[in-house]
């Protein structure tokens, strides 16, 4: 079977740069990382210099995600040889045990790391991930709350906690977590939109009004957020339809809903025109290709 570099006519430098970009963007495209990384490691490892070690780590985690234990073990063994006492490598050993569902053994590894270094946040978060994997949501929530009392600035943890609360239908506490995230990330439209969805789900006039405001804020930050557009329409329409609101509130919300509907209509019209243009472009391109341009 042809290698990736032969199929796509790319050199080892491009493959290395692609892996770096995926690392920096924190992409979880594990199948692609395994395909590219495995070829890079097996055929070009001598050219990579010190980059090889971070690539081993990246490929190992992706391999665990794709159930490629053979590849994960190969990468782990290389890392263990190079960094025998490293906590970072011990964490990877623990992750491999988690992938094999040997949770007790994994916990022992993480406890050993925490005994040597109680401030090791990665090991603590892995222990919480084990609870989540085992379906022990209540314990995971408790541990994550204790973790956040000490490491209050950990945004990944706040987001994880909000997801846990949403899954448990504890929307009030999920909203609190999202408020913490919005305070530290005021320009992130996704947090505003998610907060609005939680408020909408909670229901009641006050929550609907908050939902409408935060859908609108999400749109201010990103006017192409379709979920926020629909959310704005739905929340404004529900408020306008309520018999408890004043005439002014009703009129304002009808206006907001009409605006949102017009924006949705426009977005779909543009998308259809683009898909027509796109198919036209492909026809032209095929035509020119056929006649030898």
């Amino acid at each position: 079977m042809a290698s990736l570099s032969e199929m796509y006519d790319v050199g080892w430098e491009e493959m290395r740069d692609k892996l770096r970009k995926w690392r920096e963007d924190n992409c979880r495209n594990s199948e692609q990382i395994v395909d590219v990384g495995e070829e890079l490691i097996s055929e070009h490892s001598s050219k990579l210099g010190d980059d090889i070690w971070i690539i081993y780590e990246q490929v190992m985690i992706a391999a665990l995600d794709c159930s490629r234990d053979d590849l994960a073990l190969t990468c782990l063994q290389e890392l263990r040889k190079q960094f025998p006492d490293s906590h970072r490598v011990k964490r990877l050993t623990g992750m491999r045990l988690e992938a094999l569902e040997r949770y007790d053994d994994a916990n022992k590894h993480y406890d050993a790391i925490l005994q040597e270094d109680p401030t090791n946040t990665a090991a603590r978060k892995r222990k919480i991930s084990i609870l989540r994997a085992q379906g022990k949501s209540t314990e995971a929530i408790r541990e994550l709350n204790e973790y956040l009392e000490q490491f209050v600035g950990d945004q990944e943890a706040w987001h994880e906690l909000s997801e846990l609360y949403i899954n448990e239908h504890d929307y009030g506490k999920a909203a609190f977590c999202l408020e913490e995230l919005m305070m530290t990330n005021p320009h992130n439209h996704l947090y505003c939109e998610q907060y609005a969805e939680v408020k909408y789900t909670q229901g009641g006039m006050e929550n609907l009004e908050l939902a409408r405001k935060y859908f609108a804020q999400a749109l201010r930050l990103n006017n192409r957020n379709m979920r926020a557009l629909f959310g704005l329409y739905m929340s404004a329409s529900h408020i306008a339809a309520s018999p408890k609101v004043s005439a002014k509130v009703k009129k304002d919300n009808i206006k907001y809903a009409a605006w949102a509907a017009a924006q949705i209509n426009r977005a779909y019209k543009v998308s259809i025109e683009m898909s027509y243009l796109d198919s036209t472009f492909h026809c032209f391109y095929s035509f020119f290709f056929f006649i030898g341009y």
């Binding site: 949403i166 998610q194 609005a196 789900t201 979920r227 209509n265």
Partner: protein
């Protein structure tokens, strides 16, 4: 509330459920099973509409998705001679009706969780006995589409909201599954 009855799961419905779960192996997913049944008769699940792969317990997008599916089915019933168009092309014409339906008190269909960890013949807990015509061929079609990477063709409603040019009604995939399951291919 659970309903226990005999039922049949079509190849199309099963394969799309399977591919939806394979496309998002790290997430919980949900979707709508479309069925027809006569009063007191067996349920025949004819199709599946993949809906969400994120924030399943939140209301707005679920409400939007269910309303859109209901509108789409209503249009299909009324449009007997018209050419079937992808959902995204119908939006501007039916937008007003859809948006009105969103805020009206539209009764929601009953949803039943399907255990995707048991993607075999016992995957639908609301059906006490489930019949899959040509189970081996159905399973082969699902595996073939997964191995060829065609599960990437599937678009759920979440994916449609991320990129509204994508067709959540999955016409291309439906055609592929129909082709693979047609008698000409030695199947059903």
């Amino acid at each position: 509330m659970q309903y226990f009855m005999d039922g049949e799961l079509s190849c199309l419905a099963y394969v799309k459920m399977y591919l939806h779960s394979c496309l998002f192996p790290r997430c919980s997913v949900n979707g709508l099973l479309l069925s027809s049944s006569s009063a007191g008769g067996a349920v025949c699940v004819t199709d599946c509409v993949p809906l969400l792969h994120s924030h399943l317990p939140l209301a707005p997008i679920t409400q939007l998705a269910l309303t859109q599916v209901k509108e789409d089915l209503r249009v299909q019933e009324g449009d007997q001679k018209g050419r079937r168009e992808p959902g995204c092309r119908r939006w501007p014409n039916r937008l007003v009706e859809l948006l009105q339906a969103l805020v009206s008190r539209v009764p929601l269909p009953v949803l039943s969780p399907v255990d995707f960890c048991r993607l075999g013949t016992d995957c639908c807990p609301f059906l006490s006995r489930i019949m899959l015509r040509q189970w081996e061929e159905t399973r082969d079609i699902a595996s073939q589409l997964l191995e060829s990477g065609d599960h990437g063709l599937l678009v759920d409603f979440d994916g449609h909201l991320d990129d509204i040019t994508k067709d959540w009604t999955n016409q291309t995939l439906n055609a592929k599954i129909a082709e693979l399951s047609s008698p000409a291919n030695g199947s059903i």
